[in-house]
Symmetry: D2
């Protein structure tokens, strides 16, 4: 799938050269946002920041990392949502307020941000960024409560939507997940240091030990007095974890909400095979995201697994525009079909999802022109019919092909010989009946939105 | 002299490719700030910004200039005062508030900024920069008045100290000078466009016509309804124009407060010669700042003018640290003595001012080692005894050699054969008795300060 | 495997914006050399060049590509062999000589280069690079023959060792393979243009059609009079194609010497399974190079294929040095084990080769610490016992673990429960008995070398 | 004047961190070439090089300087002549030849280079650059003599034209001036180190002591056995030092051929005043090159010296194209007239030379539009009627306004009220009757040229 995903966040408390670890953590979370990156660190007195557009390795170098002093640091990988490219919008955001300094890294989407912003602005607030996240700092700064913790809870209780937050003050880090728990956030341990990250693969890279997920609605504080947690801050609500993290966002080696991503995707492929078996010679994935489901499909169906599309891993930043002589350039730049594998074969090709349908169409054509006799498209998630408002960058409803076309119409469009999606029931069989947001598949939005 | 000076600002209203002109204006004002530069433009709907550290030509290129769309733009050259190097502190500052968008460029120093900031922060404001200037936006945003003009006057009436401001909204530019008139700000005209700039040399470069200085305490608005001006906004106060603009800051080709900088500096040299004539063979300047005064000294004294120190104009960014074998490296990198001119001569060397005394000492040594028989140091301004709090970057009182040493002691330190300063009376003879701030020379601060 | 491979070369004749296509071709060949890249183009009169250190996308941008004018261009991706990092060593090399201008791109290693160089230098030649390739230009320039073709054949007949060459003159391109045919070179067609490239995957990317491999000892000329080929230039010799191109160098989607790389590697895995079956629960590859052989092993053995090591594809340029708290950092940065897949499993892990043994050791440890009960290492090529002198960057004999250790000793070193290599017979079963250089496996060097 | 000048060269032998000193020397010689710079150093075994396009400070940074190891180094500032922008043309050139390694830095122009090159190329030589300088290395490499010194003399005796050379081998540096002595080259001493540089200002900056000029036709060798010099290498010839070094090229603080540049230029102004006195109110220079002559003119004529044109020293790299509303942009960017100084005055403006006449025309217009009543143009050198072939970048004869127009016609073109040049006799009165090349003024070329 080609969805662009939202943001990775990392924080570490009580580790010398903290920014080094955050840098590596952002590296491990690079798949969650390639447009910009930033780190803010503190030595307990001053805050140090470095931000820029591009991949983690484009933004940082040895000098910039070593200028980020102190034992506490937080970082952010960004895929832009509603903000633009200005450096003021790159997170972590930083501000002075009456209790000192504060920096904040946010993964998610606050759906009542505009309403809150309007109220704040009417009340004399000024905004330096287009980021929704800035409202959180304003809410904290304007709370009349006397302790920072009370002000923080004042602030986050106003927010609706998806927010996994890492907030840094001079001597502590706060990790927060919204009461619905849309976006992931995990806690780990590295010697005496406490680490927070969007995904556990960041812990693996820096050699930290995964402890547990932050719970929906929970606030965890790592500070001088150790690690404390608060679970009764928000009103009771139903857990609504984003099921798309399982399907596409998270890295296969991460463990999320008690499950390994790779294993759960393989299981989706198995159920998909149960639901939509087809006689074929080989099962191939769309690399890399379709690999685990294709393995699962192969295992359950007994049809041999193979690679019929070879991915070029150096690609991604080519600047030469495709000329007309180079057809389907964008896809071809990334994928090249293996004629040897495909020739005269009945092929099941497994992808994780279909958004606009254009990529699927190109892949089917590519496979057929490489000699495939039949191409059976199998999608390891249900049709995406509704846009996401909680921090996933789906296109508008109009652009979602499944919002207005039947599966048979989509099949015709892609020219596949057959097309089957994993059913919602099938998906629930894998992940569990409840506790997830399935809005992109069923249109039932767990939190009403009022974005003007 | 080696004082680092404060900021140049430019704005243009109603000119296609406005950012081009602001870029060139910043170029002409490069001497007022070499650490950072920024431009914000608007097409009436959106604001566009580009900022960075370094010289104007390091920060901008064709692409960045052409991305700054619209017919209205303002720009800023920065020498950092109390802020640090973070990009958030580079001006023009930009914000959203309840009446839309705003950008602001500031030259000067607001001495009650901390007090105001504290009050705002106590009241829930957050600050994204360390810049004093951000308080102005907050004051405007929080004013209860209904029109922007009333809010603006609400805001600026609270400020104490030095502020020449250029403020941009979607469809207008405001130019303001504080009621004391510390820092310069001029208005010009280029076809139908209105231009504002710290110095008139910016008008010359872009082919604009100089109209007049903005008066102390005046607000000028260039907008849809033409150019309006308001002079009764502030309480009456005494004009206190910074006399150091005449002595060192401004570019010699600028016209300021009715006088040409070059001519006034030459005149200072003449009066200096009247006050402290000495028998000598040649008068030489410390290039480039001492040139006009040395010419004046030569003219009045009848002693021939010559160049005994040659300046290397490519220098300024050499990164190799001087080793011990290269003595007086810093000065030598910029200046090289002409033995032919100096040998066996009695030399009057004219500089614009002495701050710490170290540079003067090195220059005297350089001249003597090149063969000068006598070196008579003549300074075309009085001894600097007190630091400036209005936007000039003087060192602390402790570092000002004249704050704790007599002229004779300074002479001994520099090893000059004689040392004379222009008297305050002499200075007043040139610039006029009143209307200026002489605080750096006499310690009489026209606006009390309360910086904690 | 971790061998660093040698060079990719591309050329295109008779295509407008030729440099665009060469740029894309170099992109497709990025796996053959990541240290430097260069393109030289010609409009028939002048030559244009652009070179630099780094990946293709670091070296080129729109401006540099568009400055490379003309309908003829050649390019080179470099992995440095005996030259150093100086820009003078980056290919294509360019020179003026008595017949005009010439540019040359070389893949391979000329083993008598030093001897030739010495002779040339003794004879008054000067060398601007450390590259072996420069001798070829000298030989051409010094030949007494009257036509370029005769001079070229004079030159290349002197060379011993591996050389696939693309040579550009003002109006023609020559493609040459040494008589042993060590390194690959293929010819394709794009509309009226003739294309040459190290691997066919470059043709796929630009939409060109693969025509055929250049034969060992063949010279192909694309020029005004169409495409001509000459096969009787060199003395008869035995074909000695580098078998390691099949094992590791070439991209899996390329077709080489009549075979698809992916398929041949899968077949190696099958034969490996026949030779060294072991009872196990899963077969996993070392990503990405071990994937096809692991699939083949799984297919033949019936043991299920899975991914037990997840590869992070963004990695490769991290600059932070591993601290002691981050053990096995280098490998971990690229690979992360899947506990879910590995836990309590008997694991067959398939890699393409073992060079020093250190990576294998780390991978075995990684798998065991992730819970694998048994780890059986299977290598889809024979033990590498001798260094390569024909353009493959193997370490010295001393560093090759198999040159001085038995398979059992290597097994112990890696802590694997069993270790088996593909036998030479097995390898020949897959690729064919003759026509290949197996020197790295058997020490029989087909061309004697005399490098001092 | 706007002539672009040719090349500065520096070398140092026997100084730790030699490249540091060469870097600083290039800095001091920046006025001799702003297009490219390079340094080659050696530790006695290996050569290290770093080159690039731009100013010295654009090309080098701390890292690149520290990578240039060893106690011997040479450097080059380049203004391109017949070569293009390719990095291969940036000096010092470097090569391997049969006696080891060699690097060479050249200031001047070899007029029989093409003829030599053709012969070398016919004889099988290949050329990697378009630089004339490469022929020298070839000649050395091909000489049949047994010692390097004999080969070197073999080589340089073939050359005709202008060449000041610094040549580096593993353990020695050679400094050479052509027998006519067109271009300068001086020797200095810094502790135990021997330093060579185009101008003595480079010695001043690094704290070296000037010893003497290298004589025309002299070869000086600094090596293990100390400093040796050889004066009888070339056939006897007449000294033809470039008089334009005195007029424009060299920095005013340099000492050249026994004279201080600044003093000699002042003296030219004095003689100019004797020859072409005119009644006027002020004498002003075209900054900066006209300053010393204007001072001399003022001294001799008794007309007061002043600055009527203020130079902006930050300018030089502005990329915005002048629009039509900004007339005379190029000149205005650098110079701004002082109305205060010029208004109603009869002005003598002194420039060092006129090439095309366009700049002079703009300056006269600028002065008049600033209020000058009369403008008398005085040029401190004779009319430039013939192009230079010895390393000065004059335009073609056609473009030299004085080659085809009388002084009165040029006066009319510039709109000056009067125009006078220094006569050739006047010039000789200052510099001496003989020993100089006056070809640009009288067309008598001391070395015949045969450039095809």
């Amino acid at each position: 799938m080609n969805l662009k995903e939202y943001c990775g966040i990392v924080g570490i408390y009580n580790k010398s050269e903290a920014a080094n670890y955050v840098y590596l953590g952002l590296h491990a979370l690079q798949h969650r946002g390639q447009e910009a990156a930033g780190i803010v660190s503190t030595d307990g007195i001053q805050f140090y920041e470095h931000k820029g557009c591009g991949l983690v390795n484009d933004v940082f170098n040895k000098n910039s990392i070593s200028s980020l002093r102190g034992n506490v640091a937080i970082g952010h990988n960004r895929y832009s949502t509603f903000g633009d490219d200005s450096i003021a919008n790159i997170q972590p955001l930083f501000a002075h307020f009456d209790m000192g300094q504060i920096a904040i890294a946010h993964n998610g989407n606050i759906i009542n941000a505009n309403r809150i912003k309007k109220k704040l602005v009417d009340d004399g607030a000024i905004f330096n960024s287009n980021s929704d996240t800035e409202v959180i700092i304003h809410l904290i700064a304007r709370s009349q409560k006397t302790t920072f913790f009370d002000r923080l809870t004042d602030a986050v209780k106003v927010l609706k939507g998806a927010f996994s937050l890492i907030i840094m003050r001079e001597n502590e880090i706060y990790a927060i997940r919204d009461p619905w728990g849309f976006r992931p956030l995990s806690m780990g341990k590295l010697d005496d240091a406490t680490v927070f990250a969007s995904e556990t693969c960041a812990f693996d890279l820096i050699g930290a030990e995964f402890i547990r997920d932050i719970s929906p609605g929970e606030i965890v504080v790592a500070g001088n007095e150790g690690v404390k947690h608060y679970s009764n801050v928000f009103d009771a609500t139903n857990e609504k974890k984003c099921v798309f993290e399982y399907i596409y966002f998270s890295r296969p080696d991460s463990y999320l909400w008690g499950k390994n991503i790779y294993s759960i995707r393989k299981r989706m492929g198995e159920v998909l095979a149960e639901e939509s078996f087809v006689e074929a010679d080989i099962v191939i994935p769309t690399p890399d995201s379709g690999v685990p489901a294709a393995l699962g499909f192969s295992k359950k169906s007994g049809i041999p697994f193979d690679f019929g599309l070879i991915r070029n891993h150096y690609v991604g930043r080519t600047f030469i525009e495709p000329t007309q002589t180079i057809r389907h350039f964008g896809v071809r730049l990334k994928l090249n079909p293996s004629k040897d594998v495909l020739k005269d074969k009945r092929v099941v090709v497994v992808d994780d999802s279909i958004v606009r349908g254009t990529t699927s169409k190109r892949i089917v054509k590519m496979l057929k022109s490489a000699g495939a006799k039949e191409v059976h498209l199998r999608i390891s998630s249900p049709p995406v019919i509704s846009p996401c408002f909680y921090g996933m960058d789906t296109p508008t409803k109009r652009e979602l092909i499944a919002s207005s076309h039947s599966t048979e119409e989509i099949r015709k469009y892609t020219t596949a010989d057959s097309l089957e999606y994993l059913s919602i029931e099938g998906l629930k069989k894998v992940v569990g009946e409840t506790g997830y947001c399935f809005a992109c598949f069923d249109g039932n939005y767990p939190v009403e939105f009022d974005r003007e």
